[in-house]
């Protein structure tokens, strides 16, 4: 099992799907953030597995770069969460709907 590329890919795809499901189903913005992190990790797993398969170091470097990108995103995302919580006093992403299409004007 651990000999097969496909099993790693399958694991990665399961994690990727879980991440996607988290984004579509959860209102809590923390968990939305964590879901994105999980998806990035799933992609990392694919990279590393392919690197082992091709016996190349390149994908490991790519995975490393993706981790760094995730860190950068984390900084912005987490500070945005703080702003949102201060502004709206809530973590519920469903109530953030000022921009909803209305009959009246909003610019």
């Amino acid at each position: 099992m651990a000999d097969l590329l496909l099993s790693y890919i399958a694991l990665a795809m399961i994690l990727f799907s879980i991440g996607f499901l988290g984004i579509i189903s959860r209102k809590n913005i923390f968990i939305v953030y964590m879901s994105i992190e999980l998806m990035l990790n799933a992609v990392n797993l694919i990279f590393v597995a392919l690197g082992r398969y091709n016996e190349s170091m390149e994908p490991q470097v790519m995975a490393m770069i993706i981790i760094a990108i995730a860190a950068a995103e984390a900084a912005v995302f987490l500070s945005l969460i703080v702003v949102l919580y201060r502004n709206k006093k809530s973590l519920n992403s469903d109530i953030f709907n000022v921009l909803k299409q209305k009959d009246t004007a909003n610019g």
Binding site: F16, G19, F20, I23, I29, V32, I36, M39, L40, V43, I46, F47, L50, Y53, N54, S56, E58, P59, M62, I65, I66, I69, A72, E73, V76, F77, L80, V83, L84, N87, K88, S93, F96, N97, V98, L99, Q101, D103, T104, A105, N106, G107
Partner: protein, 500 residues
């Protein structure tokens, strides 16, 4: 040394971003000083970029510092040309936005630092010759934009837009990485050019994976340009953003995305493009329909312009599908339309930003009743932008649409041309509504309309002139974006990436 000159524009913009980041801590640096500094750095980048661009009739392709950079950055006529558009877009955004930024006291000098970071990211994107580097560049641009959108963080809709763009943008970004991993899995490389070479030698079994990878990258691309079915975010994010940022995203960012995607798909993904051409027809029709329907019901001008930018995405995609049959001229029609749309949109958004920057009185169509009576010049300029966006003859927008539709017909996509033309007709409704309201309705009470003063109106007037200028004839257009030159460049980027 010559290598360094090639990366000089990038260097200047990056340097500007870091310098502004450092000086933003000082209290004495005002918004005005910050914007002037930004302009200085952008101008230096612009001049050095002109040096790169202007190599006579010769087209070139070069990998600077090839031993260190390892072919991940490419400088060719194509990239320099796109850099010109991007820097110009940035300069225009700042010039038009100065008034707005000064009136809104939330803005600080960090904004300009982020702005330059985003310009840096976009320029890097069109210079990128490797998928991971391209993604990093895209992330630099996107992260800066997320924050720029939410910069006025006391306003609910700003941070809401920022949040929505951040979540959905990251989600779309993950698909880019997924696609990259598949492309790597199929070909063992992520360098543009090499992917294409490898795809010719790969076993047919891996071909499917390459196509899937390309599709995943295409998903990110469709998301970023707001095409169906990934268009939902656009109207919220664009209308939640400050107006100059909206203009910047709708015009400049879109150009950067297309700059990269064209390179990727022209050079490497012939196969995927052929594979996708049939499906893209539906994507385009739905994009046009969705954008048109959304635009037709809007009462707010800003939201109307935003919704119509989805329609313009549809037009661009029409040209994108024509590439496989027409090659260079298909690509050049995209580039030309990008310029045409860029000018019209920056002008329209910029002028509305200027008009509504002091107060928030003029937002909906109805607020512009009889506007022509009070501000005839502004109304005239606004009309020019609307005419150009609608594609009425003797504006640059018409010529852009003309190229796209003739290109589509030549490529055999008559249905798309017809749908595009129908969308154009619908668009006349919502663009001309503004003109009609400004000219033919009794004026509402107009208080506190900003007078024509300062830099922004002059710049906007120049854009309006350029739109007319570009629409009058080819003799002038030849020096403006240069149709023949565009074809050459598309050709070169095609050749150079295989040769180099």
């Amino acid at each position: 040394m010559i290598d360094f000159i090639y990366v000089l524009p990038l260097f200047f913009v990056g340097l500007g971003a870091i310098s502004l980041m450092i000086v933003s801590t000082f209290k004495s640096v005002t918004i005005r000083k910050g914007s002037i500094t930004t302009l200085v750095f952008l101008s230096m980048a612009f001049i050095s970029n002109l040096y790169n661009l202007n190599t006579g009739d010769e087209v070139y392709s070069h990998y600077p510092f090839i031993d260190i950079f390892n072919k991940m950055i490419i400088v060719d006529t194509y990239a320099s040309y796109f850099s010109t558009i991007l820097i110009l877009g940035a300069i225009l955004t700042i010039l038009i936005g100065i008034h707005y930024f000064e009136k809104h006291k939330e803005f600080t000098v960090e904004f300009f630092s982020l702005f330059l970071f985003s310009v840096f990211g976009m320029m890097l994107l069109v210079h990128a010759n490797e998928l991971i580097s391209a993604f990093v560049a895209l992330e630099i641009a996107s992260i800066s934009l997320y924050v720029m959108i939410g910069f006025e963080k006391v306003i609910s809709k700003r941070i809401e837009a920022s949040y929505r763009y951040l979540v959905l943008g990251s989600l779309a970004g993950v698909f880019f990485l997924l696609g990259t991993s598949f492309v790597y899995g199929a070909t063992g490389t992520t360098t543009i050019g090499t992917i294409g070479d490898m795809s010719l030698n790969t076993f047919a079994t891996n071909m499917n994976l390459l196509i899937i990878g390309g599709t995943m990258i295409l998903i990110t691309f469709l998301f970023k340009i707001a095409a169906f079915p990934f268009q939902n975010w656009a109207i919220d994010v664009y209308s939640g953003a400050p107006l100059p940022v909206t203009a910047y995203m709708a015009a400049t960012f879109k150009a950067a995305i297309f700059g990269f995607v064209l390179r990727l798909f022209i050079v490497d993904f012939d196969l995927i493009r052929d594979f996708w051409d049939d499906a893209l027809v539906y994507v385009i029709i739905l994009t046009l329909a969705y954008g048109s329907f959304l635009a037709i019901i809007q009462k707010s001008l800003k939201r109307m312009l935003v919704a119509s930018s989805i329609v313009h995405t549809g037009y661009l995609l029409i040209a994108f599908t024509s590439i496989s049959a027409l090659g260079e001229s298909g690509a050049s029609s995209i580039i030309f339309y990008l310029v045409a749309y860029f000018l019209s949109a920056v002008g329209a958004f910029g002028l509305i930003a200027y008009i509504s920057s002091d107060d928030h009185l003029r937002i909906t169509y109805d607020d512009f009743r009889g506007f022509a009576k009070i501000r005839p010049y502004m109304a005239a300029m606004l009309s020019i932008f609307m005419l150009s966006l609608a594609g009425i003859p003797s504006t640059i927008g018409f010529i852009g649409k003309f190229y796209i539709f003739t290109g589509a017909i030549e490529a055999g996509n008559t249905i798309l041309a017809v749908v595009g033309i129908i969308a154009t007709f619908i668009s006349v409704y919502y663009y001309f509504k503004l003109i009609a309201i400004m000219y033919f309705y009794r004026s509402a009470e107009m208080t506190n309309v900003p007078p024509l003063k300062g830099v922004a109106p002059v710049v906007i007037a120049f854009i309006a002139l350029a739109i007319i200028w570009g629409g009058v004839g080819n003799t002038l257009v030849a020096y403006f974006p240069g149709v023949d030159l565009l074809i050459d460049m598309a050709k070169l980027s095609y050749e150079s990436l295989f040769v180099g």
